[in-house]
Symmetry: C2
Subunit: 365 residues, 2 copies
DNA sequence: GGGGGATGGAGATAGGTTTCTGCAAGGTGA
DNA sequence: TCACCTTGCAGAAACCTATCTCCATCCCCC
């Protein structure tokens, strides 16, 4: 009665839609708001009868606890940010679009399975958007060195987990592929297929993926005694990729096998090979890094390296939520994920026996 | 002084990271919290000197207003939901993955430009996730009839805008393509290219896209006096699409042109045509609906219909935010967006003059 | 028969912000 | 000089929940 009186007195105008609050439930059930809260959240010491009664009344009134009030009280919003550093106006770069899409899909799944929702927040967005949303933690894709967003989040004590090795960012944990192993595996695979001179199509940017992959290529060349043959281009420009592919095949020391680090390289290289009358795989072996399954249906199908963004997205979110909830503080804070080489016609001199067979042990030869 | 005293008394243990609150700023600046709030939010009647001073002190203390408290007080969270109805476990269906990814990208951009952030929330997710996040509004992609999530949101007074015509859902507005016009345009285009019997690859599901497109096809057939030739399959199953494509070309009344309603139909039809020794476009004209640009590089390149998900995502978000902010209550609540036909080799009997040329007026012949 | 533990539940406070109301000082016109 | 308006700012309510503290029983057992 008191609660009801208070309630009526405290709502002189009835602002918005008359949503039922916890007070309304308490009044209707004839109990205190403490009892309602405890009953609905499974806390406190209450007999099952009271719990059931309160739940029933709450259902009847269509009561939904206010997310904002709960967040304010508990300090938990159930929201985690998904951030990607951007190079232009758009929130996502197109070069890694397939990667990002798949990664975001997996991250969303993983978050929801643990009761969290994902908020997409490009790193370049206005600061007011960032401070306007209460985040329990954030996933950062491919953070740049000294990323200001990460620094600010760290200052606020928000856990951050990154996809890709962080430069100098204070992250709680990171997940990344074993890029060196992947490149070495591909080069060995191409050499096994008969390649004598393997070329590389790489980028001019300094992110870890490009850097580690290129370094691995160079060290492999040094190990086997091959002169490096590679072309670099700004990976954000799709046209530049086609030009670089052409340049690579136009060289006097033309390679007889090429690995392309970026998604569109496969079609670009295929087109360039066609222009120069090179048959794939007879005259040119081809592999590129891609998440797109279009390379299963090109003519010929092209062998691709998948970074398995789904696995990464899942792992990143698990690590982040663990950090948020404070579990497993002792387990390793970095995780190196394997990649998948999907072998298709373009990298096999002889017709393959089985359609798709990832090599179990690349170093068998 | 009073505020400071209050503050110290009210924080006996200093729970988490000592984040500066508005009270700390007020105390440090020697003003009241009202003045701080007004100064930072550009409200109230304050001389510029005071405003500047407060802002400076707030900056010095690294003050960030609590998003949760602001949301609780104002009733606005700055968050809008992005929901896609799901058919399985995963948050997104793979059939429309390219569509969804592009649409989400554009929606994210549009929302951020207006100071909102996007939360991804599959419709099938547990109820507690939905009620745990304060949403100012929601975009629903392709809602099913009597969608329970939409009904619940409507009950709570949360504005909902849908991508795709809503069945019986109480949405504030919707945006959709002009599917009939698109199909009619494609059929006319194929007929212009010399098709005598045009087949359709369609779905068994009852969503509006499939329904409207199929109906348009049937009415076109009736109008021009052609017997309909079509195969239906469950669009969620990619293998079923390949089988249906094969079935369509195996019919005794084999069509000499086919339009496929779903993204993978192009490659499926191309593979089937190859199996039956049909040359494209000489023996078979091909068009499919797809957002993927892989059809620019297939052999031959395939004409595609783009639904322009980017434009739709932008429009949907604009409409939603308008509804949230209460502007433009009189403007139309539904918006029909045009599609783009990207004409390539597969739908032209004679080699094209220009590489890519969307037909300006399809009824020119 | 009374101390003490377990049970069931109420009261009050905190969490941080926005905003309505109101107050004091100073200026202005009659 | 006084009423009145404007300026500059302070106080306090309200938003809604979760939880800490505490009180009243009731029962058990010495």
């Amino acid at each position: 009665m008191t609660a009801a009186g208070n309630h009526q007195a405290s709502r002189p105008s009835g602002r918005r839609l008359e949503r039922a609050g916890i007070r309304d439930v308490a009044a209707a059930a004839g109990v205190s708001i403490t009892t309602v809260s405890d009953a609905l959240n499974g806390k406190g010491r209450l007999p099952e009868a009271t719990r059931r009664h309160v739940r029933e009344v709450a259902d009847r009134l269509g009561y939904r606890p206010s997310a904002a009030a709960r967040t304010l009280r508990t300090g938990r919003s159930g929201l985690i940010g998904l951030t990607v550093t951007t190079y232009g106006e758009e929130p996502f770069t197109f070069t890694e679009f397939a990667y990002f899409a798949e990664m975001a899909r997996a991250a969303t799944s993983a978050a929801l399975a643990r009761g969290y929702a994902l908020v997409i927040l490009p790193a370049s967005s206005r600061h007011d958007v960032w401070s306007n949303v209460a985040l329990d933690g954030t996933v950062v894709i491919d953070p740049s060195d000294h990323d200001p967003v990460v620094a600010e989040l760290a200052r606020q004590g928000v856990p951050v987990v990154s996809d890709g090795r962080p430069g100098n960012c204070p992250v709680h944990a990171w997940v990344d592929n074993d890029h060196e192993a992947a490149v070495l595996g591909i080069l060995d695979h191409l050499a096994d297929a008969g390649a004598r001179r393997i070329g590389l199509l790489t980028g001019t940017s300094t992110d870890t993926y490009t850097r580690l992959s290129t370094t691995a290529y160079l060290s492999w060349c040094e190990r086997v005694g091959q002169e490096p043959v590679y072309e670099s281009y700004p990976a954000h420009d799709p046209c530049a990729g086609a030009v670089a592919a052409d340049r690579l095949l136009a060289r006097p020391d033309r390679p007889d096998a090429v690995y392309g680090l970026f998604d569109p390289n496969g079609t670009d290289l295929l087109a360039a090979a066609r222009r120069y009358g090179l048959r794939v795989p007879e005259d040119l072996l081809l592999v590129c890094c891609s998440e797109s399954d279009v390379y299963a249906t090109t003519e010929p199908p092209i062998t691709t390296l998948s970074l398995k963004p789904g696995r990464i997205g899942t792992a990143v979110v698990q690590l982040l939520i663990d950090a948020i909830e404070g579990v497993g503080g002792t387990q390793p804070v970095q995780q190196v994920m394997p990649t998948d080489l999907i072998v298709r016609t373009s990298s096999q001199r002889r017709p393959p026996r089985t359609k798709v067979s990832p090599p179990r042990s690349p170093g068998a030869g």
